[in-house]
């Protein structure tokens, strides 16, 4: 009977997850050495992607205009832009994250073939644009038109899923600071993304990270840019409101 008692206690512990306390950035859970590496431009490899994005931003395609011909002086004009994403696109009423907005701009305004999610070019562009908001607090809208998406993201976060029958909340609210394999469980704030992950040896988007999470609990992995992950991204950004953007971050 003892295992039953242990099981019951575990279930109680999972159920008694505290209401969202103060959310901390993912870098708070890194070793001091890795935090220093993230802050040090001479040692953080993710800056290569930012550099590439900066170059793409001002490169003129064969037909059509370069990004910089509309967004002149991006260091000022786009400073803080990334803090408002994901946001609801006024024209279509759809939720767009930074990747979605850049792709929309590229296809509709520049009349260019889209980069595609998770391509090196898209990662470079998002890393560059997000890096322009480095240090500024996340300021997404979660009310008004964004409310249904936010609620959907919240429901996704709280819903048990996968073969392990875990919800995001059970770990990322209830077990924060504890160990999962070799890593420390964080609040799941995506403020460092696109980030250089040591596991990937590469820069990846938040949706790539979410797919890894879904795989971890043996749940359905949704596509890059899928409505499920977009809504979840909005919910996570809403939770992380006020935290500074750290892109390009380093994560384990």
């Amino acid at each position: 009977m003892r295992w039953r008692a242990v099981l019951a206690l575990t279930v109680i512990a999972l159920a008694a997850a505290p209401a969202t306390a103060e959310i901390k950035s993912g870098s708070e859970f890194l070793s001091p050495e890795m935090r220093r590496q993230q802050a040090d431009e001479t040692r953080n490899p993710a800056w290569f992607w930012v550099e590439q994005g900066e170059e793409l931003f001002s490169r003129k395609p064969q037909t059509g205009a370069a990004c910089i011909s509309c967004h002149a002086e991006p260091k000022q004009s786009l400073r803080g832009a990334a803090t408002h994403y994901p946001q609801v696109d006024a024209a279509s009423g759809k939720l767009l994250n930074l990747e979605g907005r850049i792709e929309q701009c590229r296809i509709e305004r520049q009349k260019q073939p889209g980069f595609g999610y998770e391509t090196p070019e898209m990662l470079a562009m998002t890393a560059y644009v997000a890096s322009l908001s480095r240090g500024l607090p996340v300021e997404v809208k979660t009310d008004g038109a964004a409310k249904p998406y936010y609620e959907a993201g919240k429901a996704f976060f709280e819903r048990r899923q996968g073969q392990l029958n875990l919800s995001c909340q059970q770990c990322h609210d209830g077990m924060v600071g504890q160990k999962l394999r070799g890593d420390t469980i964080s609040y799941g704030a995506g403020t460092g993304y696109p980030a250089y992950r040591l596991e990937w040896n590469d820069v990846g988007s938040l949706h790539r990270r979410l797919r890894a999470c879904s795989l971890g609990v043996r749940a359905t992995q949704f596509d890059y840019g899928s409505p499920e992950y977009l809504a979840l991204e909005l919910f996570l950004a809403g939770r992380a409101k006020g935290l500074p953007v750290e892109t390009p971050g380093i994560r384990r």
Binding site: E41, T42, R43, Y196, N201
Partner: protein, 107 residues
């Protein structure tokens, strides 16, 4: 953009000073061995050597193998002796080389 490098060092130094040189490199450092889908394996493709030459003299050499991570970082020191170029050269599997030059002014 398979290769890129970020070299950080002081632009100026006094003669006799020890200067720190930091080299961050963008390279996938593919150790190879994966299936290529046609019955063979993907060959190794890494940077296998980095050398730094200061005023014509080699001051640093790093032989790299498959244990080195992608996008490697290395830092080393040298003594500032005379104004001149420090030439960094990477040798890639297959024979390609990449070069970057940084100027050091010694006062």
């Amino acid at each position: 953009m398979p290769f890129n490098a970020r070299i950080t060092m002081p632009a100026e130094a006094r003669a006799g000073d020890i200067i720190e040189i930091r080299v961050l490199t963008r390279h996938p450092m593919d150790r190879g061995g994966q299936s290529d889908g046609k019955g063979g394996t993907v060959p190794r493709m890494i940077l296998n050597r980095l050398t730094a030459t200061y005023s014509g003299e080699q001051v640093f050499r790093l032989d790299m193998n498959t244990g080195i991570s992608a996008n490697p970082f290395v830092s080393f020191t040298t003594r500032a002796v005379a104004s001149g170029d420090i030439v960094f050269e990477w040798r890639e599997d297959g024979g390609a080389t990449y070069t970057r030059t940084a100027r050091l002014v010694v006062t």
